[in-house]
């Protein structure tokens, strides 16, 4: 706080409401608040009190207090109502004028843009086509990611029919949900390990993000997608060889066109080794990959990786959903990518400039539909799989995405919430009170990988069950039959243009 600036101390966002009748002064809330917002007063008036200005609204103390005597509330104090100058805009300007800095935030875009998932409805069978009971009949969620051949050729060998066409390498998923890129450094090793173990147990994959792969996690290689990003952190032949697939990261939904910055303080011994950079140096990922200025350059990197891994592993290219995604995706597929990952503007992040996060990129629903359509129109849809990412909240969103054209989806924020995240959006401080987005040795211990693995497995298990319920209701017994099946989607409250881009009919229109 700047000298003479009482705005930041008194215009606080949250109130730590402590029922002093119930508080036993055990001091647990003080020990657990990483922002030192709770204080033990040992001179009169004695007791446990809070400095509201320091509270980030993470709810950690509320969750852990043994008498349940804390309630974190929004500070009800409001400026005079104004539709344009809301408290949020005013307070941002106060913050900025105190520091002169870029406003930073964590997690995904929280502006009120339309969420198209909530304007799309799914179909169900009635009378003329029977629905299926997923508890009694087999339901197939298995998904193969990778380039599919246009046609299959067979030959006869010693009286046996054999496949002649050489198939491109595929990733096999038992559930069409993967864990999205989160780098070691942004999240800690405990969580990386929980994600890896869950991917192994559930038959899916997790993505290392751009932070390299810790040696301890090499054993989960066949459930790992390793990223090759602009900083090239931790990329070597072992890294590429141990993984099931490599992903070239061009962009991220939360901050399209923006690089990353892991401050030097967070680059301790383990992060330094894993990222292959000296201890204490800032890990800067440039905004672009400096050897990729065109689709031709991208093609070179795709094939450099394929060459290095004997053409045994699919290569994915991840882009942020931007205005020209469809044409870019077409170029990516033509450049030889086996998978195109598209990250919508609601995707999360450990740190991004608030204004970029909230104003750059487009919704995944529109990007996905237009990419799928473009690739189909050009007759190259089967040459690559599509993974949609950014803003999936539940199994219904996943089912809708698959019907819109995705082969699978990437999730990250739901995984964080599964292990405790309360969406306080302060990941960039490196002090996550739940031990998630932090490498502080005091805080990282709060994430017990055993507990986190159980929670993540439950998350995927619950979603798979629900996906099967949806499929059963639609009379579909294999997720393959739902892919790109937009006839099973209907829009509500959407304009002609939106329906056109999504490629779906309005509710009320029959087949």
């Amino acid at each position: 706080m700047a000298v003479g600036d009482t705005r930041s101390s008194n215009f606080f966002d949250f109130i730590v409401d402590r029922d002093t009748e119930r508080c036993i002064e055990c001091l647990v809330c003080i020990q657990q608040c990483p922002y030192d917002a709770n204080i033990h007063r040992t001179v009169e008036p004695k007791g446990v009190v809070s400095d509201f200005a320091k509270c980030t609204g993470c709810h950690r103390c509320e969750a852990i207090c043994p008498t349940g005597c804390i309630t974190i509330r929004r500070n009800p104090s409001q400026f005079r109502e104004h539709d344009i100058w809301t408290d949020w805009h005013i307070k941002n300007l106060y913050k900025q004028t105190a520091t002169g800095g870029v406003l930073l935030t964590g997690s995904g875009n929280d502006y009120e843009y339309p969420i198209y998932w909530d304007h799309i409805l799914l179909d169900a069978c009635q009378v003329t086509n029977p629905s299926i009971d997923p508890l009694r009949e087999p339901m197939e969620l298995r998904t193969y990611l990778g380039s599919k051949p246009d046609k299959l050729e067979f030959e006869e060998k010693e009286g046996k029919i054999e496949l002649k066409t050489e198939l491109a390498p595929q990733l096999v998923l038992e559930v069409p949900v993967l864990f999205s890129a989160m780098s070691y450094g942004a999240i800690n090793l405990n969580l990386c390990e929980a994600l890896a173990r869950t991917a192994e147990a559930m038959g899916t994959l997790y993505n290392t993000g751009e932070g390299g792969l810790h040696k301890r996690l090499y054993r989960y290689g066949k459930n790992t997608i390793v990223q090759v990003a602009s900083g090239r952190f931790g990329v070597d032949i072992d890294y590429l060889s141990v993984a099931a697939a490599a992903e070239i990261k061009i962009g991220q939904g939360a901050k399209p066109g923006i690089g990353g910055h892991l401050p030097g303080e967070k680059v301790g011994e383990d992060v330094s080794k894993t990222r292959m950079i000296p201890i204490g140096t800032d890990a800067l990922s440039p905004a672009p990959q400096h050897d990729i200025y065109s689709i031709e350059d991208l093609k070179q990197l795709i094939f450099a990786i394929k060459e290095a891994t004997n053409y045994e592993k699919p290569v994915s290219v991840k882009i942020a959903a931007v205005h020209n995604s469809a044409a870019i995706a077409s170029g990516i597929v033509r450049a030889g990518a086996d998978i195109v990952a598209i990250d919508g503007f609601r995707g999360g992040t450990g740190a991004a400039p608030t204004m970029i996060r909230n104003n750059v990129g487009i919704p995944i629903e529109l990007a996905l539909a237009s990419v799928d359509q473009r690739l189909r129109d050009e007759g190259i849809r089967s040459h690559a799989s599509i993974i949609a990412a950014g803003g999936f909240r539940n199994s219904a969103d996943v089912v809708k995405a698959i019907a819109l054209g995705a082969d699978a989806v990437y999730i990250a924020t739901p995984a964080l919430i599964a292990v405790g995240c309360t969406m306080c959006q302060k990941c960039y401080t490196g002090k996550c009170p739940w031990g998630i987005t932090t490498n502080d040795p005091y805080l990282a211990k709060r994430l017990n990988p055993d507990i986190a693995t159980e929670q993540l497995i439950n998350l995927l298990r619950a979603w798979s069950r629900e996906i099967k319920e949806f499929m059963g209701a639609m009379g579909i017994n294999a997720i393959e039959s739902l892919r790109g099946n937009r006839e099973r989607l209907r829009g509500v409250n959407l304009t002609e243009r939106e329906l056109g881009i999504l490629g779906i009919k309005h509710a009320g229109e029959s087949w």
Partner: protein
């Protein structure tokens, strides 16, 4: 026998185990009674030891060959057999603190509240199926099992 084992890699030093222990040994086993009414307040029978980010709850190991029993000059510390916890008969304790000196884990503490003077230690919560500290730990940093 089952013992309480700490897992220091996930202990976050919140001390909820100590609080649960105090409550379990209070007259009414009620947190408000234990902390606001009972005088004097019970002492926790486990203590969270901390050195930087390293921390763990230092429970009694209920050792196979307990140094405390060996050291006790009055027979206040005892156990029925190897399958039972090491307990203290506080009426026989003369507060010589030899057990405290002898325990290699620092799991015995002095109880000098309101003029009383005797040792105090973990009794593995005889009234509970799962010891109170184990149940209270929010991060599974205490494991109750046979090893």
């Amino acid at each position: 026998m089952k013992r309480v084992y700490p897992k220091e890699e996930v202990c976050m030093a919140c001390r909820l185990c100590e609080i649960a222990c105090i409550v379990e040994h209070s007259e009414y086993k009620d947190i408000f009674w234990a902390f606001r009414s009972e005088k004097p307040r019970q002492l926790p029978k486990t203590k969270v030891e901390e050195l930087g980010p390293l921390s763990f709850s230092a429970n009694c190991r209920h050792c196979k060959e307990p140094a405390c029993i060996e050291a006790c000059i009055t027979g206040a510390l005892y156990r029925t057999d190897e399958e039972h916890p090491v307990l203290i008969d506080k009426d026989r304790c003369v507060a010589c603190w030899m057990c405290i000196m002898a325990c290699p884990y620092g799991s015995i503490n002095r109880d000098e509240r309101n003029g009383t003077r005797h040792s105090t230690k973990c009794d593995l919560c005889p009234d509970k199926e799962i010891p109170a500290c184990v149940k209270a730990c929010p991060n599974r940093a205490l494991i109750y099992e046979e090893r």
